[in-house]
């Protein structure tokens, strides 16, 4: 079967649309709400959903996602429960689902077992923010064997590394918008034309910009530089505010971003 991420970007390209990738933390405030939120986000216009696996020490996250991790870990959300969650979601959606997680979670679970389980429950890719390109051998063999994509990140500091990383990227390339950690921002100082220039020189996989995007207007602006945008903290802020009642407000937010993105 064709990887859902690749199929998704091909469809979007054919329609002349940009990808909307959204993030929530699994088990925040509980797994039943996470399940509803994923389906609601797809329903209101998300193309790809990243499910965050909560970690005790998320060093790449700002306060919003740190707090979401803690809320989730308070009731001991674990990786097996998240596999079951995705398995249930697959009864209702065929859209790409990714896990966003720290390397220790993969490693401790057993990298081979982890990728096999991802394949079994039909997780399409994983994003591991504390695994830089140089350490990709931790997962590469299993990622390739199972077809579960390992999504690489590029940061404003990557410069001459961009091409090297793009050469080996599959699925999409995660472009980190700014220095620092996740969290909403008012402005972006990165020169995206310069940062992303190497990507125009070859036939590389699609690229999406994330970190700090908080509304439709910013999403539109960012997506103009590439193939889509990723929104996390802005959604998690809504979940933090409304808890189990966040399905409707999150849906409204996603709809507003989708509209702006398609305008």
């Amino acid at each position: 079967m064709k990887n859902r991420i690749d199929a998704c970007f091909e469809d979007l390209k054919a329609q002349g649309k940009k990808a909307l990738v959204t993030f929530i933390t699994a088990g925040d405030p509980d797994l039943a709400t996470t399940e509803k939120l994923v389906l609601e986000m797809f329903d209101k216009g998300a193309d790809i959903v990243e499910i965050g696996v909560p970690f005790s020490d998320p060093i790449a996250e700002g306060g919003t996602i740190q707090r979401a991790s803690l809320r989730s870990l308070k009731h001991n959300t674990n990786l097996d429960q998240i596999f079951e969650l995705v398995s249930r979601l697959r009864d209702n959606t065929e859209k790409p689902i990714l896990l966003m997680m720290y390397l220790n979670t993969v490693f401790r679970y057993g990298t081979e077992k982890f990728f096999n389980n991802c394949k079994n429950v039909q997780i399409d890719g994983v994003i591991i923010p504390d695994m830089p390109f140089e350490e990709r051998d931790e997962v590469k063999e299993y990622s390739e064997k199972t077809g579960v994509r390992s999504i690489y990140l590029v940061a404003p500091t990557s410069k001459e590394r961009v091409k090297m990383i793009a050469e080996e990227s599959k699925g999409f390339l995660y472009i980190v918008s700014s220095l620092g950690v996740t969290g909403t921002r008012n402005e972006f100082s990165t020169n995206f034309d310069e940062l992303l220039a190497p990507l125009k020189e070859g036939n590389y996989c699609p690229a999406c910009i994330g970190f700090g995007i908080s509304n439709g207007e910013q999403a539109r602006k960012m997506a103009d530089y590439c193939d889509g945008c990723i929104i996390g903290s802005a959604i998690v802020n809504i979940v933090e505010k409304y808890g189990a009642d966040s399905v409707e407000p999150v849906g409204e937010f996603i709809e507003s971003v989708r509209t702006a993105l398609d305008a």
């Binding site: 970690f55 005790s56 020490d57 998320p58 060093i59 790449a60 700002g62 306060g63 740190q66 803690l70 870990l73 674990n78 990786l79 720290y102 390397l103 220790n104 979670t105 490693f107 401790r108 679970y109 923010p129 504390d130 695994m131 830089p132 390109f133 140089e134 350490e135 931790e138 690489y152 990140l153 590029v154 940061a155 404003p156 500091t157 990557s158 410069k159 590394r161 990383i165 980190v176 220095l179 620092g180 950690v181």
Partner: protein
């Protein structure tokens, strides 16, 4: 061929992409300066004139007689400026930071010793300094917080997670991700991504080089064992390193067993940890079955870290070093013993090493020699020892 920055399976560079360029820049700078005669001349001068090196190697005669076994020598890192071995590493890293043109220094601290050393050298070198410290530790070590303020550093409390050392490290990493161009991250132990474990070890290895020279001068031979406490493991790596090739020298690390390794309240990473990847390195960590990092505990704020430097994990894996687990009670007893027997009040961290040494010394013969690395002095711990013994001190 072994990969760069690896000790067997351990080590590596597991950090976000944002920091990779800075880590490579640091690696290149360190490679350039580590054998540079001018850099080393400056560093030796700072060690001698500012930090008070070489630190004394002292024959503990009363302790030797009392224990009735091997001859005991104490390496007095507690007599260094700022009262601990931490200054050795900070002088090295900040001299490097200056060469790299970095103006802003960040550091994490647990007990406050590394924070104080960093604030001290920043004052000396005219660098801006921000120290991250768990808010729980700030309460436990308010004296060191004020000391850092006196030295002109900004101390930023960290409330996330368990509000202790590991969370301070998380926050320092986040700061580094945000201010990568201007900022140098001065890590306090032989941990983190390559090149830190190697670089910090190199700045601390002067301890074992001095022990070796002093021992040859006093006894005309090498010691039979060197004992040091291990949290992240920088004083122990410093005390061990020059002896690794000398197979006749037994290397003993003392880690914190808190209320006992069979209780949930300890920080005994070698005894109870599992292989994992965290804080930039592959090493042993105290963690649950899903890889969530454990809360750890020790009476010593300098040893309650859930991981250990990768080179220690390696030395353990090949059987070159042994690691003892020392409980709070054993450490406090050793703290009191050394104070009364030798007139030296050790840091509670170093008291773990004293306790481990006291287990092996009586089993050894009188013609053998043990060196205890006394990594720091104990003034900072007097309140917590009093509290442990149920004594109320009201002059706080």
């Amino acid at each position: 061929m072994e990969k760069i920055g690896r000790f067997g399976d351990f080590g590596g560079q597991y950090i976000p992409e944002t920091v990779m360029t800075a880590v490579h820049e640091l690696e290149a700078a360190y490679d350039k300066y580590k054998d540079d005669p001018e850099f080393n001349r400056e560093l030796r001068e700072l060690y001698r004139d500012y930090a008070n090196r070489p630190s004394m190697l002292y024959y503990a005669e009363k302790m030797t007689k009392d224990l009735g076994g091997a001859k005991v020598y104490i390496k007095r890192e507690d007599l260094n400026h700022t009262g601990a071995h931490k200054i050795n590493n900070v002088l090295g890293q900040l001299l490097l930071a200056k060469k790299m043109g970095k103006k802003r220094i960040i550091a994490e601290t647990g007990a406050g010793q590394h924070g104080v050393a960093t604030a001290t050298v920043c004052a000396l070198m005219g660098l801006e300094c921000e120290v991250y410290m768990g808010s729980t530790d700030m309460e436990r070590q308010s004296l060191n917080v004020y000391r850092m303020n006196l030295l002109g550093a900004k101390v930023t409390g960290v409330d996330s997670g368990t509000a202790t050392l590991k969370d301070a490290i998380n926050e320092a990493f986040r700061d580094w991700c945000s201010n990568i161009d201007t900022t140098f991250y001065c890590i306090g132990s032989v941990m983190g991504p390559h090149p830190y474990p190697t670089m910090v070890r190199d700045f601390q290895k002067i301890i074992s080089e001095e022990i070796k020279a002093q021992m040859l001068e006093k006894e005309g031979r090498l010691p039979d064992a060197v004992v040091a406490c291990v949290g992240g493991g920088s004083n122990a790596m410093g005390a061990f390193y020059d002896f690794i090739g000398d197979k006749g020298v037994r290397l003993i690390g003392a880690e914190a067993a808190g209320r006992g390794v069979d209780t949930p309240e300890h920080a005994a990473t070698i005894a109870k940890g599992d292989l994992g990847i965290f804080h930039g390195m592959k090493s042993l960590f105290l963690q649950n079955e899903y890889g969530q990092i454990d809360e750890v505990y020790s009476i010593s704020a300098g040893l309650d870290y859930p991981g250990i430097g990768p080179e220690h994990a390696y030395l353990h894996s090949i059987g070159r070093a042994d690691y003892f687990s020392i409980t709070d009670e054993e450490a406090v007893q050793a703290f009191e013993y050394l104070s009364k027997t030798e007139g030296v009040i050790p840091a509670i961290e170093s008291a773990h090493a004293v306790a481990a040494a006291m287990k092996v010394i009586p089993q050894m013969s009188k013609d053998q020699i043990v060196v205890i690395n006394l990594s720091g002095r104990g003034d900072k711990d007097v309140y917590s020892i009093a509290r442990y013994r149920g004594v109320e001190l009201d002059e706080k």
